[in-house]
């Protein structure tokens, strides 16, 4: 871009709404996504997938498939025995005294198929079409086994076992307690109990998964381009499976990834298979997930069923919360989402007594991981529905009842009394929930909206208002790193491990680095997602990157600045304290004509003396600094949404009249990017509330495996969102940032559920199940 990036009034880049540098290439079709990668000799893989959810493989005959012209290889479990090690266990339970019971999984199933869509064999051919032709010719004889397709079925006594060695289908049973819930319930003036069912779905990032693996025989090393959210984790698993040291497995997230949203943050068989096949064929192997495959094999979130009770006083003060829920974890999944759900339920409220109990069940469905929101929307739904019900029971306004129970602004850090998903105590770092709620209501003209509602109701218009406020754990550790260096051109290269999938790291990281080093935004390049460029990294998920990579960049940037100034001090014969960096040069403050361009600083500072000569002035070499930031705990963002909608009681259709979002993610690096993240999250939340729904039958077959049966909202379905920000900086990191990537999704289902129920009060409708759609709403009205 020819015009320099605008700074804030204070002169820095952090906080400025700088348009993204990524955009020009994406807008001109010059992005590089994994399927755009072209390399000589690349061959194309396709997967043979089990049509059955639970089955033993009796026989696989690949003869006809292998004989097809253009087919290079067809492999089954027997062929890849050398990498058939059990996958490492994913995640422990963060709650002391409870354990995850891990099902053992291999790249290709050894004993039996555990979900419809699981890979049974892999084919490589000269083209994807030919590979699919060969897949059609692979004959598999299955011995069908009884299927468990819901958590309830899986947890029932005598249920078929997903993993025989576990003896039952309980992946985890985690109980957390605060105070004395039994006593509190027994003594409470009022209690209320409900059951809620929440079904979510897939991520359906517009780009599916994909990998290109290349094996270098001379080096016995892999280079793997992987549209993953976590290159270092992929490297670790591949290195383990292939018995290679990590430095001989390089995983690179391509420069552009078409959305991640969670499922690209898991490890899958296809990644290992592409590597094995590339080594076997001595040709690069590309596998690109198509939409159908995404529907049946990418991780997703499915159903939770919550049985929840609250105890409260006559004036609507919460005394206790009891939430027992089941979570369908699929045939293999990380415990992430249900643990997060449990921690999200209490939300922004003071609740002195809590009983939280999760039953995570293995089922014969595809793995459950995390999908934008990662279990939080379900937790928010549960608590906010109960707040609405409490208000209704007591004849109080739902917004008032919330305000009454909010953790006050002076109560931080606030210990909820539970363990968070990271094994640390659930402690909210900062926030101002009363102010957030107050402003959301003010922005939505809440009082007037209630008056309008009454007037409209009198005319037979079913208008509803829903309010939802929530707290969101973000900024998950354990770390993220940054390496900053000044290169020979005088440019600052910022390298970090977590790859972007649309979050704008090339812009946001450059803003932080520019302020930290004190150079121009335009003089910075950002490199992400390459295990060959930075040794350690975690990945992009859990709304964690800004709060982890940001402070690392800040810290490394400051250290780099000192090194630059030390070299400049030598070259300018001045004290570092008298120097400044302006317009790409180091100069003495007050002497603008005496400057040394950064390229020259780099030449000397990176060891550029004449061959064999000593470094002058005792300078050390290497204009590079690295930092790994480890947050002491997660941070906590907060949101408050107000939704005003009308329901056509005759057809069940919902029209959103107004939607207000208030959001607090601490300090903001780039307001444009943050707003974009919130808006995208709200769209996803809207989809979870009114449109998309994962559906399976009792045989574990997906009933909605195309966008024709699985609607996602377009611009026509999205209302215009009004947004405002509140800022309560986080004390956890020097930037004061929290996280914003998922926030938009959290309260939407709750706000819409509340608004629809409010709209249909005349019919006594109870919204206890999400998502809603016209048919379901109409059926609720008619009591069917």
């Amino acid at each position: 871009m020819s015009t320099p990036a605008a700074r804030t009034p204070e002169g820095g880049y952090i906080g400025a709404p700088i348009p993204r540098r990524e955009d020009a290439r994406l807008l001109t079709g010059r992005g590089t996504f994994v399927d755009d990668l072209e390399m000589p000799g690349v061959a194309h893989a396709a997967m043979v997938r089990s049509p059955h959810a639970h089955a033993r493989v009796r026989r696989i005959d690949t003869t006809a498939a292998r004989a097809l012209p253009g087919v290079l290889a067809v492999v089954t479990a027997a062929d890849i025995e050398d990498i058939q090690k059990p996958w490492p266990a994913r995640m422990p339970s963060p709650v002391p005294g409870s354990a995850v019971r891990h099902g053992v999984r291999h790249t290709l199933p050894r004993d039996k198929i555990r979900h419809a869509g699981e890979v049974v064999a892999a084919v490589v051919a000269e083209s994807r079409a030919l590979a699919e032709d060969a897949c059609d010719l692979v004959e598999v004889e299955y011995e069908l086994l009884p299927v468990v397709a819901t958590a309830a079925a899986a947890l029932a006594p005598g249920a078929p076992l997903v993993y025989e060695q576990l003896g039952d289908n309980v992946a985890a049973h985690i109980v957390q307690r605060v105070g004395n819930p039994e006593r509190a319930f027994a003594a409470a003036p009022h209690t209320l109990g409900e059951t809620f069912r929440v079904m979510r779905g897939g991520s359906h990032s517009m780009e599916g998964r994909g990998v290109v693996a290349r094996y270098d025989e001379a080096l016995d090393a892999f280079t793997v381009w992987d549209a993953t959210q976590m290159p270092h984790a992929i490297r670790a698993i591949l290195a383990y499976l292939f018995d290679l040291p990590e430095h001989r497995v390089r995983v690179i997230a391509p420069p552009d990834i078409g959305g991640g949203l969670g499922p690209k943050g898991s490890f899958y068989p296809e990644e290992a298979l592409a590597c094995w096949l590339a080594r076997h064929l001595r040709r690069p192997v590309k596998w690109i997930e198509d939409r159908l495959e995404h529907f049946v094999s990418a991780a997703q979130e499915r159903e939770q069923i919550h049985t929840v009770e609250i105890a409260f006083t006559a004036d609507g003060t919460l005394l206790a919360l009891r939430d027992v829920f089941t979570h369908d974890i699929g045939m293999y999944g990380a415990l992430v989402s249900p643990v997060i759900t449990a921690c999200t339920v209490p939300g922004p409220y003071r609740i002195p007594n809590i009983h939280s109990e999760v039953w995570a069940a293995y089922t014969n469905l595809q793995p459950t991981g995390a999908v934008r929101g990662a279990g939080r929307p379900q937790g928010v739904l549960v608590m906010e529905r109960m707040m609405d019900r409490m208000a209704e029971t007591l004849g109080l306004d739902p917004a008032d009842v919330r305000a009454r129970n909010l953790i006050p602004a002076d109560a931080f850090p606030y210990e909820v009394g539970m363990w968070f998903r990271d094994g640390a105590p659930l402690t909210y770092d900062s926030g101002n929930y009363p102010e957030l709620l107050r402003r959301a209501l003010e922005r939505a003209d809440y009082a007037r909206a209630r008056q309008e509602q009454a007037a409209l109701r009198a005319r037979g218009v079913h208008r509803g208002i829903g309010v939802a406020i929530c707290v969101e754990g973000v900024g998950l550790g354990p770390f993220e790193g940054a390496v900053l260096r000044l290169d020979g051109r005088g440019r600052v290269i910022v390298t970090s491990g977590a790859p972007p999938q649309g979050q704008g790291y090339q812009t946001a990281f450059a803003q932080i680095a520019a302020d930290a080093v004190g150079v121009r935004f335009e003089d910075i390049d950002v490199v992400t997602g390459d295990t060959g460029a930075i040794p350690y990294g975690i990945g992009s998920f859990a709304s964690r990157v800004t709060a982890n990579a940001g402070p690392a960049i800040l810290s490394a940037g400051g250290a780099l600045r000192e090194k630059i100034l030390a070299v400049g001090a030598h070259m300018l014969e001045a004290a570092p304290a008298d120097l400044e960096i302006v317009d790409g040069a180091v100069r003495v403050r007050g002497l603008p004509d005496r400057g040394v361009p950064l390229a020259q600083i780099a030449r000397l500072g990176n060891g550029g003396v004449a061959f064999g000569m000593v470094m002058p002035g005792g300078l050390s070499v290497g204009l590079e600094a690295s930092a790994y930031f480890t947050p002491s705990q997660a941070g906590y963002s907060a949101s408050a949404h107000v939704c005003i909608l009308d329901v056509d009681a005759a057809t069940g259709e919902v029209t959103i009249v107004r939607y207000v979002v208030g959001h607090d993610c601490g300090n903001v690096i780039n307001p444009l990017i943050v707003e974009g993240q919130i808006l995208g999250g709200v769209a996803h939340g809207l989809s979870n509330a009114l449109y998309e729904e994962a559906m399976y039958d009792a045989q574990g077959q997906s009933l909605a495996s195309s966008f024709l049966d699985y609607p996602l909202p377009s611009a026509r379905e999205m209302p215009r969102i009004e947004m405002f920000h509140l800022t309560t900086p986080s004390p956890i990191n020097p930037l004061g940032v929290k996280g914003a990537g998922e926030a938009g999704t959290l309260p939407v289902t709750a706000a819409i559920a509340g608004a629809v129920e409010d709209a249909l009060r005349a019919f006594g409708v109870r919204v206890n199940r999400m998502p809603l759609n016209p048919a379901r709403i109409s059926d609720l009205i008619h009591g069917t």
Binding site: E22, A24, G29, F33, S203, S205, M206, G502, G504, L672
Partner: protein, 160 residues
Amino acid sequence: MSETRTIALTVNGQARQVTVDVRTTLVDVLRDQLRLTGAHVGCEHGVCGACTVLLDREPVRGCLMLAVQADRRVVETVEGLAPNPAHLNPLQAEFVRHHGVQCGFCTAGILMSLTAALRDNPAPTEAEIRETLAGHLCRCTGYQGMVDAVLALVASGVAR
């Protein structure tokens, strides 16, 4: 082996000739053989819109056309929009200003649909813009930035 045909088509103003397998879709030929990877493959059933290109100036799903059907036709892809990659056209520039792009996977198709729509109607209302965008899915942005970008373009009077 496979049945092939040699087709001649105009792509972004350039005459191109390419031999294609008759079963290959237009978007796959554009991407794999003509190396115009701006159009993306998102669903292969015509719903997501990521593959949308212009055929004789009208938006079509590249995944729902066989490449052979584009013989002797005029195709426009996103690569043809900006006269020079360093200089975005006014629509693209507004997308930057209004943060209409996040991961970028859906972007090319959307730009092509908007380009065609703006040729027909250079001053659409917000409802009309959202109607044009209704044939596209984006999982990142919530669409508001894109809508604002087009509204700004309309307001600036430079509708092309």
